[in-house]
């Protein structure tokens, strides 16, 4: 028995009791375990391990890293969507004497999981995926500034994702909401490991994002091809530059807020405790000083995608390029001085609230400038109403409705009424889904043929689009009304006499319609892959304007055999209309070697965080491995390889003729 106790001590707080017992959680946990097992089995049966390791897990190529980000994001999107269906079912039926399908604590866990996963592992994943794929190509670069760091960022993101999903199998999820406000998230009120999982998962993924932010900031500033001055960059790169600037200055605040909360829980400090001289509103300030810029971090690159899509599918150059750039930087600046509008009810006094209220209204101005610029780009254009442009039109409508609701809530007295209501929930879903998700859907449809050589099926894409749009409006317009009627967020049960049920049922139907839309998106992917030989799309399927479309498809691993010559905006558009003969000789190309060290850093940090969550202190020492790996890496002078000029010429010919 004493041996058993010793063993128990070795494993910290971990014991068999921590594995799930109720059927619904067991089903979810089963899925989380089953999916990797199925993937491992498929890889083993098809003997693909070596291929996976050599081509993907050790890669330093931003194009592959981008695709891995997007795959993780899609998988997490499915998890976030299943959370939605549970939430909507619960709220549609848990009325009066019925308690619905979920217990109160389980419901809160699912709501927290939905928000956390959708923001950190879906939206961020899609964003960094698209940035990795597109930015180096658009600026005429062969790589990012720090390829090793880039791969490490991905693996930290991946480790954060694994950790948050482990909580479904071992332990529980945080029930403290997606931002874990204290004092609820303090040890006293959330004694289980859920909040710890939440903290460390976000900490790891957050550091990954911070490093990626630094990386792309420097990449855009330093690695543009000769001739491409900042004001000649494609608008997507401008928006990424703004977004990455925000990442670099906002994510350290998240790191601090999370670390201090972890100190409160693990070391007994008094930062945010209700006693001991702590100040819980300080957490709320810190988390939103990161959280509000985060909203713009996500949406700016989506704006960038729309700038590319609207211009390409209207066959016109982007209207108001300079004002677009200024609008981005106005948003970047203003996004740091609006955070308090998330808690006008704190009691900061009317002067402070007035300042933040006015700033919040002002930030709608540059956003409006962008919207009008897109509309003017479309005006008198030859509109090609393909799905990417449809996503834009849906965005323009939804984002404007949501934005108006936002300006409404920027008025502090109105916010006092709407704070923490479903009106707010409807507002931010219109911004994040309507802005960010629609934007990345448009981007994926637009750039897909560049990387895979065939277009996504247009008809199924349309079905998916209409399901999404109709389902989305069905799901969220009722929430605006419910919010006005006083329905609060995270409501797991309500009285029948309130008469809310019909609206919740409509919202539930909306969620199902969205799920059908997602089903169509998967069908679209499957059909497009099956029919890929009939649908080959060439190098420039949309007759687009920026440099990435000048490359052969699929894009060679070195991107540009000869770096493009840039003199104007929309360089490729101009090149297509002039007859250019490239007489330059080929030059050797230097590229980073593949290395497993990034993955090893990710895995050791994952083990470290898992150990901290469960207080298995000896296991936390594995985290030191990451430091050792960094030192070993710094000693390695042989991190790149060179392709000779002759080889480049041969490869270029093969790629141009479509032999690869």
């Amino acid at each position: 028995m004493s041996l058993f106790n010793n063993l128990a001590g070795i494993l910290g707080k971990l014991s068999l009791k921590q594995f799930p017992h109720d059927p619904l959680t067991m089903f979810g946990a089963g899925l989380i375990v089953l999916v990797p097992i199925v993937i491992i089995a498929i890889l083993t049966v098809t003997k693909r391990w070596r291929w996976l390791y050599r081509e993907w897990l050790t890669t330093q190529d931003p194009k592959r890293i981008g695709i891995m980000y997007i795959i993780v994001a899609i998988a997490m999107g499915l998890r976030g969507l299943s959370d939605v269906l549970l939430i909507r079912t619960q709220q549609a039926i848990s009325v009066g004497s019925s308690q619905g399908i979920l217990s109160a604590s389980h419901f809160q866990q699912i709501v927290s999981a939905h928000g956390t996963i959708m923001i950190f592992f879906v939206a961020m994943g899609l964003m960094f995926g698209i940035i990795n794929l597109i930015v180096p190509l658009q600026i005429g670069a062969r790589d990012v500034a720090f390829p090793f760091l880039n791969a490490t960022s991905f693996w930290l993101f991946f480790s954060g994702m694994v950790l948050i999903n482990l909580s479904l199998v071992i332990g529980d999820f945080s029930a403290a909401g997606w931002l874990a406000y204290p004092p609820l998230s303090e040890l006293k009120y959330s004694p289980t490991v859920g909040v710890d999982y939440w903290i460390w998962s976000l900490e790891i993924a957050g550091v990954g994002s911070l490093l990626a932010g630094i990386n792309f900031l420097v990449t855009i500033l330093k690695m543009r091809v000769k001739g491409m001055s900042l004001m000649k960059m494609p608008m997507f790169c401008w928006s990424v530059l703004g977004s990455m600037f925000l990442v670099a200055f906002a994510f350290p605040i998240l790191t601090v807020a999370l670390t201090l909360l972890a100190f409160d829980r693990d070391l007994g400090t008094h930062f945010f405790t209700s006693g001991g001289g702590g100040n819980m509103m300080m957490y709320v300030n810190l988390i939103w000083a990161w959280g509000h810029p985060e909203v713009y971090i996500l949406v700016l690159p989506a704006f960038g995608v729309f700038s590319e899509v609207v211009s390409a599918f209207s066959r016109k150059k982007l209207f108001g390029y300079t004002s677009m750039v200024w609008a981005i930087w106005a948003i970047v600046f203003l996004s740091f001085i609006v955070w308090l509008h998330h808690f006008f009810t704190m009691g900061a006094g009317s002067n402070v609230n007035a300042f933040f209220g006015i700033m919040t209204m002002i930030i709608a101005v540059p956003t409006g400038v962008k919207l009008f610029n897109w509309l003017f780009t479309m005006y008198r254009g030859k509109l090609d109403l393909k799905t990417p442009l449809l996503w834009f039109i849906a965005f323009a409508v939804v984002f404007t409705i949501g934005g108006m609701a936002g300006v409404l809530m920027a008025v502090p007295p109105i916010d006092f009424q709407l704070h923490n209501s479903l009106f707010l929930v409807a507002h931010f879903h219109m911004m994040i889904v309507g802005g960010v998700v629609f934007g990345y859907f448009a981007g994926i449809t637009y750039w897909f043929p560049k990387f895979f050589g065939f277009k996504l099926n247009e008809r199924l894409g349309r079905y998916a689009f209409w399901c999404w749009l109709i389902g989305f409006l069905l799901a969220f317009i009722p929430l605006y009304i419910l919010g006005f009627m006083g329905a609060t967020r995270r409501l797991n049960h309500y009285s029948a006499s309130l008469g809310w049920q019909p609206l919740f049922v409509v919202a539930g139907i909306g969620a199902v319609v969205i799920a059908v839309g997602v089903g169509f998106q998967f069908l679209q992917l499957i059909f497009s892959i099956l029919q890929r030989h009939q649908n080959t799309s060439g190098d420039d399927p949309w007759d687009a304007r920026s440099l990435e479309w000048s490359l052969p498809t699929p894009v060679p691993f070195y991107n540009y055999a000869r770096l493009p010559a840039v003199t104007e905006r929309d360089a490729f558009w101009i090149a297509k209309r002039t007859h250019q003969i490239d007489t330059r000789e080929y030059e050797p190309i230097e590229l980073p070697r593949n290395t497993p060290l990034s993955m090893i850093i990710g895995v050791s940090i994952l083990i470290f965080a898992f150990a901290i969550v469960w207080h298995i202190w000896w296991l936390a020492a594995v985290g030191l491995l990451a430091a050792v790996v960094i030192i070993i890496r710094s000693m390695d002078e042989n991190t790149t390889y060179t392709i000779s000029a002759n080889e480049v010429m041969k490869l270029d010919k093969l790629y141009r003729e479509g032999e690869v």
């Binding site: 000769k226 601090v256 001289g277 007489t583």
Partner: protein, 204 residues
């Protein structure tokens, strides 16, 4: 519109950007993110500095002469770090290692003094668990201490590197970044010395 344009091989395009300058810029941006991290911790300290919750305040805890000795140790290490960079630029391997060695020792003295101060407070029962003020004090000063620890490891690794490989372009670039890091920590410490210790001793 079919104007013929020839693109000539006028400039070597293989290195269209300066790799060393790129790395240094990246490191600068990293330092700025670290600056935001410290700024957040300073803000937290500013909010909590009077929340002593019946425990000791800065005025009763801190001994200014002791902290001044710490400060001089760190400031001198910044000076010797500069000497190490100058030696490295001249390609003098021996002097570089020597001055980095001195920097390491001074940094170590600083760290040991800080840890023994922490130890003293904890032994008196004034640990980070005592009050919001002490939580923020230990975290702000401790985060700086953690950075110093990482800096010391970096200096040690750099000495091995210089000893084994000599001073090439890559080494020089890394020495520059190390010195940026070390000076940055010095600047942060000046703020800690002022905001935490001097202001702390002022307000009884």
């Amino acid at each position: 519109m079919a104007a013929e344009i020839e693109i000539h091989n006028t400039n070597r395009l293989i290195e269209s950007y300066d790799r060393d300058a790129t790395t240094i810029l990246g490191f600068w941006v990293y330092l700025m993110t670290d600056c935001v991290l410290f700024a957040s911790l300073f803000a937290v300290f500013a909010v909590l500095r009077n929340n002593t919750f019946g425990g000791p305040s800065g005025a009763t805890l801190f001994s200014l002469p002791y902290v001044l000795a710490e400060t001089f140790s760190l400031l001198t290490s910044s000076f010797t770090c500069g000497l190490a960079v100058l030696s490295a630029q001249r390609g003098n391997k021996k002097h570089t290692i020597f001055w980095f060695g001195v920097t390491f020792l001074l940094g170590l003295i600083f760290l040991i003094m800080e840890i023994s101060e922490f130890h003293k407070f904890v032994k008196m029962g004034d640990s980070w668990q005592r009050s919001g003020f002490l939580s923020s004090y230990f975290t702000l000063v401790g985060t700086h201490g953690l950075h110093i620890t990482i800096g010391l490891i970096w200096i040690a690794v750099m000495c091995v590197y210089v000893y084994k490989r000599g001073i090439g372009q890559t080494t020089l670039k890394r020495i520059r970044m190390l010195s940026l890091f070390w000076h940055f920590l010095d600047v942060v410490w000046i703020f800690i010395f002022t905001v935490v210790y001097l202001f702390g001793a002022l307000h009884a």
